[in-house]
């Protein structure tokens, strides 16, 4: 990925992410989040993570976000009124967040030490990022976490059903 494509895409991602937290209406926030996820999927493609990019759109943008929008529409939420009394916290959080980001980026670019590994310039092997490579790793080295995740999903489904069910009288 050349700087010419990276920076516009990164700027779009940041703008969309800011839209998530600054929009007053939940639906608009949700759509900004969808845009963020979609643009991140494009970023993943440039990082040779093709399957992850597809999963990002299918699972995140296609299912999780739609659930968000569905709930917002179901509850018919209106736009929030601006809240004056929380202004101090807003300023404090923004300043602290800005400082954290600045410190992190500063450390990242000035530490001098190179990140280990061949780097993003090295050509990846043909298989890299493919479903075969990811599946192989998933079902050999990560097979126990995989099984545990399956149980976790089952528990989540049960929990969601129990929580959302109307009380039967």
């Amino acid at each position: 990925m050349t700087p010419l494509t990276f920076f516009p895409l990164a700027a779009l991602i940041v703008a969309a992410a800011l839209g998530v937290i600054l929009n007053r209406h939940p639906i608009r926030s949700g759509l900004c989040l969808a845009a963020t996820l979609f643009l991140l999927a494009i970023m993943f493609v440039f990082l040779d993570a093709h399957l992850v990019a597809a999963l990002q759109i299918i699972v995140y943008a296609g299912a999780i976000l739609v659930l968000f929008l569905f709930v917002i529409m179901l509850l018919n939420l209106e736009a929030e009124l601006p809240q004056r009394r929380r202004q101090n916290l807003t300023i404090a959080a923004t300043v602290a967040g800005g400082l954290f980001a600045a410190a992190g980026i500063y450390a990242l670019f000035t530490s001098g030490g190179q990140l280990p590994g061949p780097g993003t310039a090295a050509a990846p092997p043909l298989e890299f990022g493919s479903s075969a490579a990811l599946g192989y790793r998933l079902f050999t080295h990560f097979v126990l976490p995989f099984e545990i995740t399956a149980v976790l999903l089952l528990v989540a489904v049960l929990g969601a059903v129990v929580l959302a069910k109307k009380k039967m009288s």
């Binding site: 991602i13 940041v14 800011l18 999963l55 939420l77 980001a101 310039a121 990560f142 989540a156 929990g159």
Partner: protein, 100 residues
């Protein structure tokens, strides 16, 4: 070629946006979305490291993060619906029954 540090910087910015959003917004759904932003920032970092090291492990972990996020959203939204049924509000400041 853009070095991995640029991607990581973007990841930090995204994470901070998510964290700040979680702190400044009081609407539970938007707070929830901010958490998703933070998770995605982490995902970007994982994918970047996978590319940097040319090892698939980073991408596999993203797969797990997505699965956990899906489960988390299912339960979380169910809690939000149940809460809205009882309290008619999604403002985190007004939900303070269990707070000291």
């Amino acid at each position: 070629m853009v070095p991995a540090t640029y991607y990581l910087a973007l990841s930090i910015v995204l994470f901070v946006i998510g964290a700040v959003g979680f702190l400044i917004r009081r609407n539970l759904i938007i707070m929830f979305m901010s958490i998703e932003l933070m998770l995605n920032a982490a995902n970007l970092a994982f994918v970047t490291f996978a590319r940097q090291q040319l090892a698939m492990d980073g991408q596999v972990i993203v797969f797990f993060v997505m699965t956990v996020a899906a489960g988390e959203v299912a339960v979380g939204l169910a809690i939000i619906i149940a809460l809205f049924r009882h309290r008619e509000t999604l403002n985190a400041d007004e939900v303070r029954m269990l707070r000291w």
